[in-house]
């Protein structure tokens, strides 16, 4: 199972400047593990000390915010697009 992960600007120092990288896994947690293997250090930027998604990180699997589904346990279908995006405000 493989997905394409969109990397926000502030994490591209971990991906050699790449805005989109591949990762393997059937769940979001596995995708992040896969990212960490190839881009060491990126996991600690997305997850807090307790292993949960940081509160100012939004992650989408295809078009769905994982906070509306199962968080890190969210199923990532083969070929899915995963987006990591800093939370922003406004209105």
């Amino acid at each position: 199972m493989s997905a394409s992960v969109r990397i926000p600007t502030i994490l591209r120092s971990y991906t050699g400047g790449q805005a989109e990288v591949p990762a393997d896994g059937a769940t979001l947690a596995e995708i992040i593990e896969s990212l960490e293997k190839n881009h060491a250090g990126i996991s600690a930027r997305v997850l807090d000390d307790t292993g949960k998604l940081r509160r100012f990180v939004n992650v989408y699997v295809n078009d769905d915010d994982v906070r509306f589904s199962d968080g890190l346990a969210t199923v990532v279908p083969d070929g899915a697009s995963v987006s990591i995006i800093p939370a922003v405000a406004g209105g």
Binding site: R6, I10, R67, I85, A89, G90, G91
Partner: protein, 446 residues
């Protein structure tokens, strides 16, 4: 003596930021005096500092960045006199904002210094005995508080050499950005959900910039803009509420400054503030704390209350459940300017309302419409739906014993009712008659 006092004020300074009071700035701005007393960007989560630049999230923890200052710790009387002698706009507070000293002379909309209305009729109706005021921000150039925040972001865009002013918007912001860009001679390209009130769409489009309606909710628009800014397409763009957000947010502090100055340089007991992203509420609190730190007002307790529409009440729900994080919701309310289901500053709103002894409450769409009518009938102020939310929540807070009616309260109206006419569509003529006195009598009006 005056010269000596000013010099002393210039050399005496302190950094005022929630995370690191009294510490020295660690990051060089590199933009000379373009950002006035601003010293650095500081992460609200972990305190890491960054140079002043068009970034909005901490590279360490994704936390939101905000402006930290070296504010002038001189003679408060001198600073008050300087402010009072300033222009009738937010620029009277330029010494406390991340803007150059000559900001008022640059082409901008000069927002702010809106009316603080002593609302005695509304107070009687609600049983408030300690004094009630409406801070009416519908008086801004594009008729919402957004002109305040955009004015600060515009200055940052100019300093950073950004050439396109942009935003994701629930409507009011799009109009404010379009107007500000037109005045400043910048290109604008703004993004809105496809289902906004028609008046807000017209107000966003009329200034001649590009207006893009996105098929989705505000949160979808926000996500799109966040991705756009990381793409080469977005280079040279200043998204006022994304990459310029640290500066943008500071504009809301001016609401706190104005309320205090208009009350005679003192703080009210209670403030009722609407919550969309939560940015405005957190920055009003920041402004109140700065006023105290600078000695401009007496240090006294104040309570901050947050107001949401029931159809988009993630912060209210988290407050009532005792949570310190906010679970996003899918908005469904007539208060579209507050319809942000994933409020980025929600956790800080929870911290602030709890710290000050306030609460977060919500009202139904029906209660919002009733409150719009109540404010219009009692004070002659026609509020947009967000104003209906704050007045409706104020009424609910009093009825449920959450707010002391014997305390002095300020309630915010952040936009003009002409923008949300659909909400009061049932309002119309008392009677339609022939132009004769007999018809007037027959209609029971004589």
């Amino acid at each position: 003596m005056a010269v000596q006092s000013t010099a002393a004020a210039a050399t005496q300074s302190a950094t005022v930021s929630p995370e690191s009071p009294g510490t020295s700035p660690s990051a060089d701005a590199g933009y000379g005096t373009s950002f006035g007393p601003a010293a650095a960007l500081s992460c609200r989560e972990c305190g890491t500092r960054f140079p002043l630049s068009p970034i909005f999230a901490c590279q360490e923890c994704f936390g939101p960045l905000e402006v930290a200052y070296d504010l002038p710790l001189g003679d408060p009387d001198e600073l008050r006199r300087r402010i009072e002698a300033g222009p009738a706009s937010i620029w009277r507070y330029a010494p406390l904002l991340p803007v150059p000293a000559d900001v008022a002379e640059r082409p901008n909309l000069n927002p702010g210094w809106t009316k603080l209305i002593k609302a005695d009729n509304l107070a009687r109706e609600l049983g408030v005995t300690g004094g009630l005021y409406v801070k009416d921000d519908s008086g801004n150039p594009t008729h919402s508080f957004k002109d305040r925040v955009v004015a600060i972001a515009l200055e940052a865009a100019r300093t950073f050499g950004l050439t396109t002013l942009s935003c994701s918007s629930t409507g009011n912001l799009a109009g404010a950005v379009g107007a500000a860009a037109a005045r400043a001679g910048l290109r604008s390209c703004v993004f809105i959900p496809h289902d906004l009130e028609s008046a807000k769409v017209v107000m966003a489009a009329v200034y001649g910039g590009e207006l893009v309606a996105i098929e989705g909710s505000y949160d979808d628009v926000n996500r799109f803009c966040s991705e756009l800014i990381g793409d080469p397409i977005g280079e040279g763009w200043g998204f006022v509420n994304v990459n310029l957000r640290p500066y943008y947010g500071e504009g809301s502090k001016t609401l706190a400054y104005e309320i205090a100055e208009q009350l005679g340089w003192r703080l009210p007991d209670n403030l009722v503030i609407p919550i969309a992203s939560g940015s405005q509420l957190t920055k009003i609190d920041k402004g109140l704390k700065e006023l105290i730190a600078l000695g401009l007002v007496e240090d006294k307790p104040y309570r901050i209350y947050g107001a949401q529409a029931e159809g988009c009440s993630p912060v209210s729900a988290a407050f009532k459940a005792g949570h310190d994080v906010v679970r996003p919701v899918k908005p469904d309310t007539i208060a579209k300017s507050l319809a942000i289901g994933n409020p980025a500053d929600g956790p800080y709103v929870l911290d602030i309302t709890r710290r000050t002894g306030g609460t977060v409450e919500d009202v139904t769409d029906e209660q919002i419409v009733d409150a719009i009518a109540l404010l219009a009938r009692t004070e002659g102020v026609f509020a947009e739906t967000a104003g209906g939310v704050t007045v409706g929540v104020l009424r609910k807070l009093i009825e449920t014993g959450q707010l002391d009616p014997a305390a002095e309260t300020v309630v915010l109206n952040t936009g003009d009712g002409l923008k949300t006419l659909d909400a009061v569509a049932g309002t119309g003529p008392t009677a339609t008659i022939r132009p004769t006195l007999s018809a007037f009598r027959e209609a029971g009006l004589a």
